[in-house]
């Protein structure tokens, strides 16, 4: 059994209330931080832990914190990114629903480390039930003296507010989130300046994912070195994986980074194998924007090594034969699923969610959706695959924010690995609307890579 740092007490009845959370050792990390550590020492512990941003980018959290500008007399802000909208990712909703005080405790620790006196949790607007849960948890923490003026008699003041979004995927991008928090459309800003210099209201701001902030609780409680002992290489600690699709036991799992992908899919401790006795066809390992991989490449790397659930192993092979950890949205496709239909679905999503600010993304996502729609519905041409790759290349890297890349990668990778399935849709248009291509050779063992002389 892997160690659980975030979800250890998830099944304790009443863990969503302050009293039960406190009785399980909750808020001890806040006491330790505020009473025995300086803000810089808290940052130092997070650096030592090797924690990498859990929202998708994987940037070291401690380093991000140390970039925060600290000019005299200017307020600094911490904003928690709870705008969880990446298809395949649902860990933050789960955490906020079941153990909201873990996020509140992390917010207090992180705000103290950064010197923020007012912090916001930006929750996507659709999560109204979670907003109500968090507001109740904040009121409980305030009544117990963990929020407000002079917390625990240490002289540290903190106000914490929940801000609802309006329903826009783009607001998960940190500068779009800041714009939205200022009451504007969620159009990402050009960087630099980075939020660490000029963020919310032009003040130095840190934006962190829910899970990153929650992870600071065990880091401060046990020490950064202790946290860094878990995991593998530069992938330290535990990670919440959102498992969905055709699995026997979909859900949120906390894994020690470095668990083999095969074990994660097939062992009873995690997903328990593919549902209905089917076979695995493909996996999107880190949320819809990362490259999709066929079964053979997700289980083994091109060098025939077992692929692990870690930042490095999932990206082994680059985009040619690898993928990314992303936000940990693990979507499994069984042999009955149609890759073309799914790629069209994702393309429609990105077209719908493009903010429209940059032409390559605004126009390109629309064209990709249209071309994929005709492929799926039996009106495609053999030249469409090259056309899609061409459009995706013209979006990638040519936009202000990463939504363009996120829209381009799933399309380009689906054609890279499943080209024969796309071609079959063109050559067998009537058959393609009545049945699916099936598993084909996508789960076949890999051929040995050629030795490089």
């Amino acid at each position: 059994m892997g160690r659980k740092l975030l979800l250890e007490h998830i099944n304790v009845p009443g863990i969503n209330t302050f009293d039960v959370y406190r009785s399980k050792g909750g808020y001890a990390a806040v006491e330790k931080a505020l009473k025995t550590l300086t803000p810089d020492e808290v940052v130092e512990e997070v650096k030592k832990s090797g924690l990498r941003g859990r929202g998708g980018a994987g940037f070291p959290t401690g380093m991000k914190w140390s970039f925060l500008a600290k000019p005299e007399g200017v307020p600094r802000y911490l904003v928690c990114n709870a705008d969880e909208s990446e298809p395949g990712t649902f860990k933050d909703r789960y955490l906020m629903t079941h153990i909201p005080h873990l996020l509140i405790e992390g917010m207090i620790i992180a705000s103290f480390a950064l010197g923020a006196k007012t912090s916001y949790i930006y929750v996507r607007g659709e999560m109204m039930p979670q907003i109500r849960i968090l507001e109740k948890a904040i009121a409980e923490a305030r009544n117990a003296g963990f929020l407000g003026k002079n917390i625990l008699g240490t002289g540290y003041d903190l106000e914490l507010y929940v801000q609802p979004g309006g329903g826009a995927y783009i607001c998960g991008e940190e500068t779009a989130l800041i714009e939205s928090l200022e009451g504007k459309r969620g159009n990402p800003r050009i960087k630099p300046p980075f939020p660490a210099i000029a963020g919310l209201y032009g003040c130095p701001t840190v934006v962190n994912n829910v899970e990153s902030i929650a992870a600071t609780v065990p880091i401060i409680r046990d020490g950064g070195d202790e946290y860094a002992k878990i995991g593998i290489g530069r992938s330290t600690g535990t990670k919440l994986i959102s498992a969905s699709g055709n699995l026997n036991k979909p859900g949120v799992y906390e894994i020690e980074l470095g668990v083999p992908v095969e074990e994660f899919i097939y062992s009873d401790e995690y997903c328990g194998g593919i549902a209905n006795g089917k076979r695995l066809k493909a996996v999107v390992a880190g949320g819809s924007s990362v490259p999709i991989l066929p079964a053979n490449l997700i289980l083994k790397t091109i060098n025939n090594e077992s692929r692990l659930m870690s930042y490095e192993s999932l990206s082994d092979g680059g985009f040619a034969t690898g993928s990314m950890m992303g936000s940990g949205g693990f979507i499994a496709f069984d042999e009955d699923q149609c890759i073309v239909r799914n790629t069209w679905n994702f393309a429609r999503f990105y077209h719908h969610e493009s903010c429209g600010q940059c032409s390559p993304c605004r126009e390109g996502t629309g064209w990709m959706e249209k071309v994929l729609h005709r492929l799926e519905h039996g009106h495609g041409k053999l030249s469409d695959m090259d056309l899609l790759v061409d459009v995706s290349k013209k979006i990638e890297g040519n936009t202000i924010c990463p939504l363009g890349d996120a829209a381009a990668w799933p399309v380009a990778s689906a054609i890279r690995h499943f080209r024969d399935e796309f071609e079959w849709h063109v050559t067998n248009p009537t058959e393609a609307v009545s049945r699916n291509f099936g598993l084909a050779h996508y789960a076949d063992p890999l051929s040995k890579p050629e030795e490089v002389a």
Binding site: P164, G166, S244
Partner: protein, 175 residues
């Protein structure tokens, strides 16, 4: 003026309770940054009025001391704000990839048949609207559906569960 046609843009009044909520929301931001309250203020306004008419948005603009265009551009950008009247209950089904792997499209077909209206339309009794929405972040428990205005959430949907939800809401509305 924002072009939203064929709908009633009669003047509106905000209740005292709604204005109290506005005041609480505005107090969360630094002096002079009251525009930050715009998104939550629009949510509260829509919860009270059912949708955001141009006069309602103009009133919000006046309250927050911003230009009306600053409200229109936000209300038309975010998908949760309704610029035309909707059914009393809005059924929103997730239509993104992971939910489609486990049958979301069948659920949407079923709702369309059951309510007898197309996506985005309102039933004759004014009670229901439905639409497909993008990922609701519950992919492991799909298909999923949320029902406004409270955004109550239902997971692992079946057609039987959908039938029950609809008949329960009808009974609730008739009481």
């Amino acid at each position: 003026m924002l072009r939203v046609e064929n709908v009633n843009h009669a003047p509106v009044e905000f209740s005292a309770a709604l204005l109290n909520k506005f005041a609480d929301l505005v107090s969360r931001y630094p002096e002079g940054r009251q525009k930050s309250a715009l998104l939550p203020v629009l949510h509260e306004t829509q919860a009270e009025l059912g949708w955001l008419s141009v006069p309602a948005m103009d009133k919000v603009a006046a309250y927050l001391k911003i230009e009306p265009i600053e409200v229109y551009e936000v209300a038309s950008f975010y998908t949760m704000y309704f610029l035309r009247p909707q059914g009393k209950y809005m059924l929103e089904v997730c239509r993104t990839g992971p939910c489609c792997l486990v049958g979301a499209e069948k659920i949407m077909d079923h709702i369309e048949q059951k309510l007898g209206v197309k996506e985005g339309d309102v039933t004759a009794d004014g009670l229901f609207s439905w639409r497909g929405v993008e990922c609701l972040a519950a992919c492991g428990f799909g298909p999923v559906l949320q029902i406004g205005p409270e955004y109550t959430f239902y997971e692992n949907l079946t057609t039987e569960l959908v039938d029950k939800l609809i008949s329960d809401l009808k009974a609730k509305a008739n009481n």
